[in-house]
Structures are given as C-alpha cells and as structure tokens.
Subunit: 140 residues, 2 copies
Amino acid sequence: MKEIFKLYPVGVVRKEGENVFIEIGDEYGDGLLGLEGFSHIVVFFWFHQNDTPDKRSVLRVHPRKDPDNPLTGVFATHSPQRPNLIGMTICKILSIRGNRIEIEDIDAFDGSPVIDIKCYIPSSVKEEDVSLPDWIQKWV
Amino acid sequence: MKEIFKLYPVGVVRKEGENVFIEIGDEYGDGLLGLEGFSHIVVFFWFHQNDTPDKRSVLRVHPRKDPDNPLTGVFATHSPQRPNLIGMTICKILSIRGNRIEIEDIDAFDGSPVIDIKCYIPSSVKEEDVSLPDWIQKWV
C-alpha cells in the first residue's frame, strides 16, 4: 500500500466573531448548486496542525485526551491524531451567499482547510441496533 | 489554495462471495483496539476509479445519474465524482479478526482503498430539524 492520493483544499473554515463560515474557493463554487435545499451539511476538513509524520503515526490514544478513557485505537475514535487527518462534522446551514456558507458552529479551528462537503442525509441505522462502549456514553 | 495533502491508503475493501471485509494494513492494525465495543463504523474510502483530472473537475451532476434529478452541485450530493474522491458510508460490524473487519455490506467496490475508519456515533441532529430537497425524498 505505497500509493498516495492527493487532496486539494476546496475551502476554509472562517470564524469571525460569533459567525462561522465555510468559504469555498472560487474555482469550486459551482459545486454548491442546490445546497440551499438542505438544512445540514457534512463538512470534511483536514487536521492541518497535526500534519507531521509523528502525529500521523499515532495509532492509539486516550479519547478526548482523558487518561480515564481507555487506550483506544484511533479507528475506534474521532481523534484528530490519525494516519489520514480527516475531520468530519455535521453543521447546520444558516445561509448561503455566493461561495460562503454560514453555519451554526463547527468543531474545527479557524483556518482549517475544507476538503469536502456532502449533503446531510439522516442515517438509516436504528437507534436500538447501535452499541457503544462505556467510555463514550458520557458524551453521547 | 495550492497546498496539497497526502492520503495514504490504510486498508482495502474485500468482497469474497457473500462476505465483505475491510482489511487493514498490518502497519495500521494497532488502530483497531477497542473497535469491538461498537456495532457500526464509518468507513472512508477513495473513489479510485474516478481519480483522473477530468472526473475530479466535475462540479455538477444529475444525482444517481438520473436525468430526472436536477443538475446539482457535487457538494450537495454524495456523488462519486467530486474534487476530492472521498466516499463515506456507515457499516455494521459482524466480526473483527486480526486486521480484518467483517461488515454486513458496503456500497463500495471490491478493491476500493480505505483511507479512514471512525467509530459510528449516532448524530444528535433531530429529525424534525432536517430538511431535504424533493429529489432526494424518493431514496431516503
């Protein structure tokens, strides 16, 4: 598995006072057509501050940096340290003006590169079919 | 926005008859610790068959290749044609043996490179707060 894929930033997270935006690059603006029909988006961003070989080689963490949480493989978490630094979060759209999507909030830093946006469609997984480990229950 | 980020495949989708697996590379196996506490995972894969400059420059599509669906920006879809070829899907875990996660099914091809896995945690978005365009209603 030596192949490498290339990701191009398509936008950036902007936090301006109380307001939070996804600003899409002009060359990608055409990709927003029809987004106004959705209430929410899934935003994919890059944990760019962790883009070092050291941080990308971390495979086990205490989730949320809490030593009370058991040592856990990064693939069983949403940790910002992982081999590929993909962050994913669901955001409520407030408005779309040109290439700027105003969103309610995002758990990403100002300046985080945005690598993809998808429309949010509720999952068809039924709640009664979901199981979660004990450590995660406290923040669900 | 000329910066480029590098993605390394961490695994691959394997379809063997009726059985479907995510096979994680040996060097990433430590990242699976604790995954057995979850019923579902979010699998991120690469639409590798579309990794051409032409397909990555497509910004508007008729969703599901159905001409009856309105021309829509790729960021308002889950189309496999998009600037960054990230596919995302939620899968039910059947078993985990070593570096192989058996899953119920996946809407990715056999051989698709896996670029990340995250634990599945149900979204906190309330159903009554979600709006969707008409064209999508028929397949939700």
